[in-house]
């Protein structure tokens, strides 16, 4: 019988929780390593949502950034990361980590968000609803602009990080997502309502999206650069006031063309220049990002335990 060597003192002292965390992360990496790559059928929007959810058991790791011009303060880049998981065929959950860096100021972590989307109807229809609920735990320094609601003003983002990052906000955001597919086109309409859990009124907004692959039928052989892998589209989004004043005056609105490249490897690259349409909008936004779909992640992870 071979005697097991004693643990290194530093290793033996390592708290059980830390070792469990290391084991869990190792299992996750193993699951990622052995999981097949997959391609999602999701639309390429940055702000709008379609009714297409994450396939059950798949994990999509996404990293996005937005560059925005800013009056009265430095321009900014706000990167965020998303972990999107298909719990069932009718429920997708997603966790966000937000941050931002303002030129001439600082780089800060700005909070987390937890989002859930549900399909209430079991079949496809001309218009397909999805219910969306999100809990946000962010600070006023958050500049990801994942949604524009109420009377959001670009000057809101002009506050120095040292001040804005001290103000924590807990918000509930709900959306009614309506979406249709017709002859390769996707049309999505989102109606947004957001409530700061402090004593503030409900804020409303909208997001619209349209997109289509450059080629509808697939080619017989795998290819990176064929037209079927490219999707073009556009989205528009903006605020619609609050329960105190439902109005368009004084609200921000944007329009943004989108291009996405879905590679057979499971990686999707997306880019979207956005243009502010009103005086209170940021004049120019540029979003870009990469997502990576891991097929059968849940099944592989379960098989490890």
């Amino acid at each position: 019988m071979i005697a097991r060597p004693p643990l290194h003192p530093a290793r033996a002292d390592r708290p059980l929780r830390a070792r469990a965390l290391v084991a869990f992360l190792g299992a996750v990496l193993l699951a990622v390593g052995f999981a097949p790559l997959a391609r999602a059928q999701e639309t390429p929007y940055f702000v709008a949502y379609s009714h297409h959810l994450e396939e059950p058991g798949n994990l999509e790791i996404e990293t996005y950034s937005i560059y925005g011009t800013q009056q009265g303060h430095g321009d900014f880049i706000a990167p965020w990361m998303e972990l999107e998981y298909g719990v069932t065929a009718w429920w997708t959950t997603e966790f966000y980590i937000d941050s931002q860096a303002t030129f001439g100021d600082s780089t800060v972590f700005t909070g987390t968000r937890w989002e859930n989307r549900f399909r209430p109807l079991m079949h496809e229809h001309w218009i397909n609803p999805v219910l969306y609920v999100e809990f946000e735990n962010t600070t006023d320094a958050d500049k990801t602009l994942k949604e524009v609601v109420g009377f959001d003003d670009q000057l809101d983002a002009a506050e120095p990080n040292s001040v804005a990052n001290q103000s924590h906000t807990h918000e509930i955001e709900t959306k009614l997502i309506l979406s249709s597919d017709y002859k390769g086109w996707n049309f999505s309409e989102n109606f947004i309502s957001e409530k700061n859990l402090g004593h503030e009124p409900w804020e409303f907004g909208y997001a619209l999206g349209i997109s289509r692959p450059l080629r509808l039928a697939a080619t017989p052989r795998p290819c990176n650069f064929c037209r079927e892998n490219f999707i073009l589209g556009a989205e528009a989004y903006g605020g619609l006031g609050t329960t105190d004043l439902l109005a368009l005056s004084g609200t921000s609105h944007y329009v943004a063309p989108i291009a996405a490249w879905q590679m057979p490897s499971g990686v999707t690259l997306s880019v979207s220049p956005g243009f502010g349409l009103t005086d209170v909008s940021h004049r120019f936004l540029l979003r870009w990002g990469m997502s990576y779909e891991i097929g059968g992640f849940g099944r592989k992870l379960r098989s490890l335990f």
Binding site: Q41, N58, W90, N116, M122, P213, A217, G296
Partner: protein
């Protein structure tokens, strides 16, 4: 935080309850009921790519991108996913398969594939139909 945990637990329970039944009942033709529930009008739908080798190749490529993670590379099914070579799938009409592919079966975990263009769904069906042929 406590609210989020309770909500997460409730949702997981509902999801588990929905996913708990995975019996595969068939109709008189031996076709899975979840496919055979397609409207009668789908029986007359024609596959525009039927018998086209290039479409079957494209369908195989799409199958590997979208379907193989659940149904396996050989399409015999992993876990609760159906064996697509079995008569219970192969006996279905192309129209029934097209309807099923578009709508999925959410309670049983089959996602709807309406997000990929109709042409690609027909290409996948063209490939699926080749799996039922005897091999020599």
């Amino acid at each position: 935080m406590r609210f989020a945990l309770i909500l997460g637990f409730l949702l997981a329970s509902v999801a588990a309850a929905f996913g708990a039944t995975h019996r595969w009942e068939t109709d008189s033709r031996g076709v899975l009921l979840v496919i055979a529930e397609a409207p009668v009008k789908t029986h007359s739908w024609k596959n525009p790519y039927e018998g086209q080798p290039d479409a079957a190749l494209a369908g195989e490529k799409l199958f590997r991108q979208h379907c193989a993670e659940c149904h396996g590379d050989d399409a015999t099914g992993l876990g609760h996913a159906a064996n697509l070579r079995a008569p219970s799938v192969q006996n279905a009409t192309p129209g029934e398969l097209a309807w099923f592919l578009r709508n999925g079966n959410l309670p049983r975990g089959m996602p709807p594939w309406a997000g990929i263009p109709e042409q690609r769904r027909w290409q996948i069906i063209t490939y699926l139909k080749t799996l039922g042929r005897p091999t020599h």
